[in-house]
């Protein structure tokens, strides 16, 4: 069953048409890996899926309903992780996660402890985030996905800066998420340790338009 799909999408960044005629589908429990050279539109597509960027053509649907009809519900069921970790350096790891939960209207200490454990952050919980390394900050960003769960994960190069152990943790949490029916769309250059459908974005890069 296809839950999340895009039909004939086209996106523009500035003056440049990044991709056109792009369609995708992700089923419950499925994963979609975005592949392509730099500038082929992986981040653009993820931002478009998150609703941060409006496509210039095409529609996206969730259970066959266009997501544009109910943008609030779509925002509620997705978690987006961009290039930046969005971790506040002045707060501790724990405070960052608690705050994240509160912003999503949740209060669930058990989920936070689980998230810390799943990413190997237990011992760092009380440390201000400014003291963390890039890989540790990325782990905090990933832990947020578990602290306030949602069905659809949109992850832009989630394994950047992670060590082997981190990638293993990540693969495990994605596996658990999919086992419970969750959807994952992620872009990656290396091996993120996730098996799924591959969408090669280079196939949708428009041929250089005739300069009119």
């Amino acid at each position: 069953m296809t839950l999340f799909a895009g039909h004939d999408l086209a996106c523009r960044r500035g003056e440049r048409l990044v991709f056109a005629g792009l369609s995708f589908r992700v089923a419950a429990g499925g994963a979609l890996l975005l592949r392509g050279p730099n500038g082929s539109g992986k981040s653009t597509l993820l931002r478009c899926m998150a609703g941060l960027l409006a496509p210039i053509a095409g529609t996206q649907t969730w259970s066959d309903r266009p997501i544009a009809l109910d943008a609030d519900a779509h925002r509620g069921r997705l978690r987006y992780l961009g290039h930046q970790d969005a971790v506040k350096p002045a707060l501790t790891v724990l405070e960052n996660l608690v705050l994240w939960q509160q912003l999503h209207g949740r209060r669930d200490a058990a989920a936070i402890l689980q998230a810390l454990a799943a990413l190997g952050l237990d011992r760092l919980a009380e440390l201000p985030a400014r003291l963390l390394s890039a890989g540790q900050r990325r782990r905090v960003a990933l832990a947020r996905l578990l602290a306030a769960p949602a069905l659809l994960w949109l992850l832009d190069e989630p394994t950047t800066a992670l060590d082997d152990d981190g990638v293993a943790c990540f693969a495990r949490m994605v596996g658990d998420h999919r086992a419970t029916g969750g959807l994952v769309v992620l872009s990656s250059h290396g091996d993120p340790g996730v098996v799924g459908d591959v969408l090669a974005l280079a196939d949708f890069t428009p041929a250089v338009e005739a300069e009119s």
């Binding site: 998150a50 609703g51 941060l52 960027l53 409006a54 609030d72 925002r75 509620g76 997705l78 978690r79 987006y80 961009g82 290039h83 930046q84 970790d85 969005a86 971790v87 506040k88 350096p89 002045a90 707060l91 405070e95 705050l99 509160q102 912003l103 999503h104 209207g105």
Partner: protein, 221 residues
């Protein structure tokens, strides 16, 4: 509502931890006002006569000083993406951030003003209205400034641009803020002027966050 309060608390907490611009704003206000006696000369009559204008104009500039950074760090560390994806509407996110900002800058400015009024030799009769007018006016300044900060987000030399965008919009609040205090000093009713300040604030509360949210979405694209 929980999310709204959590956001306000977060901004206050971040400001406390990082030693925010709030202290700078107050020191700027203090120094800028105290420069006037040196510039204009210690003639008490002149100082007393211009004191309302001085207190308002410097408060306006001080408010401008701090608002510039309102969204910059959120934008730079990727938090703005996350804030835009919260279940809370982006306009309420903006309102929460501006409320926190006002609590850190506008409120202390308002409370500091009567003490500076003493330094300028303002007639005591004007103090209550001065505080009231600033209490009504500074939130409007923060709301308008937030809009300017969102519009200039990501622009080079955002600060200078921000002043150009925002200062003309500050004029109505300035006019009625000064008029209210002057009215009370000359024994006239200050209420009409305060009412207009209140009306400006009531108009700004729904309009500015809405426009600011639209500007932020633009910046995120």
């Amino acid at each position: 509502m929980t999310a709204f309060l959590a956001l306000v608390r977060r901004d206050l907490q971040l400001a406390m931890r990082q030693g925010s611009d709030a202290a700078l704003v107050l020191i700027f206000y203090l120094l800028a006002v105290l420069l006037f006696p040196f510039g204009v000369g210690p003639e008490p009559n002149i100082l007393a006569r211009i004191s309302t204008g001085v207190l308002w104009v410097t408060a306006l500039l001080a408010a401008l000083l701090a608002i510039e950074r309102l969204f910059v760090s959120e934008y730079e560390d990727g938090s703005l993406d996350q804030l835009a994806l919260l279940p809370l509407p982006l306009s309420l996110v903006v309102l929460a951030k501006i409320l926190a900002h006002w609590l850190l800058t506008g409120l202390p400015l308002t409370l500091l003003a009567p003490f500076l009024a003493i330094a300028l030799g303002m007639d005591q009769a004007g103090y209550p209205v001065l505080v009231l007018a600033l209490a009504l006016g500074t939130p409007t300044l923060s709301l308008i400034g937030g809009l300017g900060a969102a519009l200039t987000l990501g622009a080079r030399r955002g600060g200078a641009l921000l002043a150009l965008v925002v200062l003309p919009l500050y004029i109505p609040a300035l006019i009625f803020g000064v008029a209210a205090v002057d009215a009370s000093l000359s024994g006239l009713a200050a209420i009409p002027h305060l009412a207009i300040l209140g009306a400006l604030l009531l108009a700004a509360i729904p309009l500015c966050p809405w426009a600011t949210a639209a500007a932020l979405r633009q910046a995120l694209e």
